[in-house]
């Protein structure tokens, strides 16, 4: 009896790890086909839903990450604008992140849900462009507080686009 229970426990253990490995494999395989696998892996793994997600679920998670990082960036821009309200670069950045949050992200969500890959790609590719556009506003300035934030958004948005590109 004790042997049977031990056997059952071992079997359950192996089955669990097999399932986990498969789920981990989907995430790993998906991330390998993105321009930034480390960012992809960390973004997905930090969301508990990723273990149960198919490619469309992973795409939703990535768009969530884009939304979160864009919100953080916009908040930072607004803070900086309080000190320099006439800074044209900051104003343009605010407009760009406004477009990401009000245009690109909702478009991506809706398109992923109804599997219109083209429009989901539009949303995430544009998010990359807006982040890069904001960063260009500060070219030539030695350092400024938005560099890392812009890069983060561009990174996760390009990963999101690459995940969307893998829709069957």
């Amino acid at each position: 009896m004790k042997n049977l229970m031990c056997l059952a426990a071992v079997l359950i253990f192996f089955i669990q790890t097999a399932i986990l490995r498969t789920e981990a494999n989907i995430i790993a395989q998906t991330c390998q086909k993105t321009p930034n696998p480390p960012v992809c892996l960390s973004s997905l793994k930090s969301d508990p839903r990723s273990t149960q997600a198919d490619i469309y679920g992973l795409a939703i998670i990535m768009v969530d990450v884009v939304k979160a990082k864009s919100t953080t960036t916009l908040n930072q821009i607004n803070q900086l604008l309080k000190q320099s309200p006439r800074d044209k670069g900051l104003i343009d950045c605010a407009d760009r992140y406004n477009a990401v949050l009000k245009g690109d992200v909702p478009e991506a969500y809706e398109a992923i849900n109804v599997r219109r890959r083209m429009f989901a790609l539009d949303g995430m590719n544009d998010a990359v462009n807006e982040a890069n556009g904001c960063e260009r506003n500060f070219a030539g300035r030695s350092s400024h507080p938005l560099t890392k934030l812009n890069k983060d958004v561009a990174d996760v948005a390009s990963v999101a686009a690459a995940v969307i590109n893998q829709f069957g």
Binding site: A94, D95, R96, E107, V114, D126, N132, G133
Partner: protein
């Protein structure tokens, strides 16, 4: 419908004078006659004055309409702005700063590779001010008053009106919340907006009222089939029809109570089943449609027969399939005549008919067509040339052009093509300007009898009603390496017809080259060859800091064959860094004895160009920041190293099409409004009287 009022508005001096002096003095025998003349002359004068009053009254009206649709008052900022300054910033004029580096060419739309990944490039530029964004709106291309548009839907002609429906987002300038917009026109050019035709109000289309097509039955009844995205995001086909067939405006639509009429068949992905075509009538007495789908990476066209558009039987197999092309969206399937210059009803077939099969490829965002033969018995279509099969051969347009759809215009017996022209700018700009996307000018489609292997597309002739102020330029010589300005006045709304002749001696003696030319990888108009590039610089400013070359590039290949390529180059179209900067185009067949010819429609942020009578076309979106309004210019250019050319051009200014919401007492029946009655009857009478006295 010819709108004569704009001409009168712009040239009031064309009117006869309102007052004619009476003959002075009088001798008694003529007294009575002079009294009569006086009265009649005064009457004529009153007629003239009141005509002026009516005209001026109408000026106010139309002038406002024009301005409302051709000038954005305020950019639409969707989010709450962090500070007041952000909202007013749009009203400040931005100073332009030089951008020192050119941008990389890219491959796909809104791809992150497309724009400069070169984040540290040059000095910062914040170009998009209100003036630049407002300028982008077109004068004579179809677009709704605001928000996002994509695919053309259900185009048709019915009871004297052309109808156009389209995918529309009522809530913003991106794709989403899709419903059917609707507009009508007498002439495919002057459009009047109507209320939305269909919204997402049923479980079967709650997640999208997507693309569909109309079929007009022999009894003039209209049926519309469209794709709905259900509450579970399954793609289904639905039937709708006009609520009132006696309403020529077809304002209200009814969805069949038993919808959906088709659901994805077994073996078909529930999200890979959309865009039903116009039906064609088979010899079995059934209506047949095709719907796009895919199996793994093979694009396919499913076929269904129906007698009532309510119950369907799926045919075995597919109409056609091509491996590696991915999902086929917006399939179009129609006959063209091999011998006639007329279009054919969708149900036509026969010995002198070829069938065109067309698909929009989801994978690469381009529209491809192929010519072939349709066998009704087998239910299959076979391409004339497998090497240029659907999706791997010819494109309708080598620029921005997608989800296109034709219809048979029974009014003028022609086949007419609509195409969705998206934006090539950033979402930021679209949100600010409050709109995104255009439709191309409708094009007639004909089989090219001269080559036998492609179609010809040409803007519908009604566009010529917008032509004003023609200028001829005869045999302008342009030497190698030079630029010649063309004085056309305002250069933002133009219809350009041009023919080029190269120096034949130079062409004949040119060395053969192994050059494998492709517009996309050529580096654009700045890259010089022996026999090209040469053409026009459109939307250029005086200093050429911004310009869009539309041009030919001729290559002498092995064996002495001369190959001609036709390209449009966005790489220097704008100093802005967040717009697409590609070189687009293709090989264009040029037959022996033909001159090189171009037609270019310029309409603010869209350039539609047609080479060799429409054998190859390129639609380009451009967003200049300097070459706008009165600063836009037009040039001929010759960047070839060896050959000069001679060009003859006809260039017209183009009037606005005054696209606006429909209103019952407006231009809908222009012939009988008070103004035109006045013009057509009372004015000639008045003029006659005046001239009689002035004698």
């Amino acid at each position: 419908m010819a709108d004569t009022r704009p001409l009168l508005l712009s040239d009031p001096d064309a009117l006869p004078t309102a007052y004619t002096p009476l003959p002075g003095g009088s001798s008694s025998p003529e007294i009575r006659r002079i009294h009569v003349k006086e009265v009649l002359a005064m009457f004529a004068g009153v007629v003239m004055v009141s005509l002026l009053v009516v005209i001026i009254g109408n000026t106010g009206q139309d002038g406002n309409v024009y301005h409302r649709h051709n000038r954005r008052d305020k950019p639409m900022l969707l989010a709450a702005s962090p500070t007041k300054e952000t909202a007013t910033k749009a009203e400040k004029a931005e100073k332009l700063q030089a951008v020192t580096r050119g941008m990389a060419a890219g491959v796909s739309e809104k791809s992150s590779r497309l724009y400069s990944s070169d984040v540290g490039a040059g000095t910062p530029v914040y170009p998009w001010n209100n003036s630049m964004l407002s300028w982008q709106r077109t004068a004579f291309h179809f677009q709704p008053e605001k928000n996002w548009m994509n695919d053309p839907n259900g185009p048709l002609f019915y009871k004297g009106w052309y109808h156009f429906f389209y995918q529309y987002n009522p809530k913003g300038a991106v794709w989403g919340n899709i419903v059917w917009g609707h507009a009508v026109s007498r002439d495919l050019i002057h459009w009047l907006h109507l209320p939305l035709a269909m919204v997402a109000d049923q479980w079967y289309d709650i997640n999208g009222v997507w693309t569909g097509s109309a079929t007009i039955l022999p009894n003039d009844q209209i049926v519309m089939l469209y794709t709905g995205s259900t509450n579970e995001s399954v793609q289904v086909q639905c039937l709708a029809y006009p609520a009132d067939h006696k309403d020529p405006l077809l304002t209200k639509w009814v969805k069949y109570s038993g919808n959906p009429v088709l659901v994805p068949p077994p073996g078909t992905g529930v999200k890979d089943f959309r865009d039903p075509t116009t039906a064609w009538y088979t010899t079995d007495g059934k209506w047949r449609i095709t719907i796009g789908s895919k199996v793994n990476k093979t694009g396919i066209s499913l076929v269904y027969d129906t007698k009532d558009f309510i119950t369907y039987e799926q045919l075995d197999g597919v109409l056609h399939a091509v491996p590696g092309t991915g999902m086929w969206e917006c399939i179009d399937f129609y006959p063209v005549s091999k011998t006639s210059d007329k279009g054919l009803d969708t149900s036509q077939n026969g010995a002198d008919v070829k069938h065109v099969m067309k698909a929009s490829l989801d994978d690469d965002r381009n529209d491809y067509y192929a010519l072939g033969s349709y066998n009704e018995k087998t239910g299959k279509w076979v391409p004339d040339n497998q090497k240029i099969d659907v999706g791997i051969g010819i494109r309708y347009d080598y620029g921005k052009f997608y989800a296109s759809k034709t219809f048979y215009d029974q009014n003028k017996q022609r086949r007419v093509l609509w195409g969705w022209i998206g934006e090539s700018d950033s979402e930021n700009a679209d949100v600010k300007k409050g709109w995104a996307s255009l439709q191309g000018i409708p094009r007639t489609v004909l089989f090219d009898q001269k080559t036998g292997s492609n179609l010809l597309q040409w803007p519908v002739e009604e566009i010529e009603k917008l032509r004003l102020n023609k200028k001829n330029f005869d045999k302008v010589q342009v030497k190698a390496g030079s630029v010649v300005p063309l004085d056309v006045g305002t250069a933002t709304q133009l219809d350009i017809v041009v023919e080029f002749e190269l120096d034949q001696k130079v062409v004949e003696s040119a060395a053969e080259s192994n050059e494998e030319f492709s517009c996309q990888t050529s580096g654009g108009a700045a890259k010089r060859g022996a026999l090209g590039p040469f053409g026009l610089l459109v939307l250029a400013d005086d200093s050429l800091s911004e310009r869009t070359p539309v041009y030919f590039y001729v290559v002498k290949g092995s064996g002495g064959t001369v190959n001609t390529y036709f390209c449009a180059d966005q790489t220097r179209s704008s100093v802005a860094t967040d717009v697409v900067k590609q070189v687009s185009g293709s090989y264009v067949p040029v037959l022996k004895g033909e001159t090189l010819s171009l037609r270019i429609l310029v309409d603010h942020s869209i350039i539609e160009s047609f080479a060799q009578g429409g054998r190859t076309t390129i639609t380009t979106r451009v967003y200049p920041t300097q070459a706008i309004y009165g600063a836009a210019r037009l040039f001929l250019f010759n960047n070839a190293t060896d050959t000069s050319f001679t060009a003859s051009l006809q260039i017209w200014q183009m009037n606005s099409a005054f696209i606006r919401p429909f209103s019952p007492d407006a231009a809908s029946h222009a012939s009988f409004t008070p103004v035109t009655v006045f013009i057509k009857f009372i004015v000639p009478f008045g003029i006659f009287l005046t001239l009689y006295f002035v004698r």
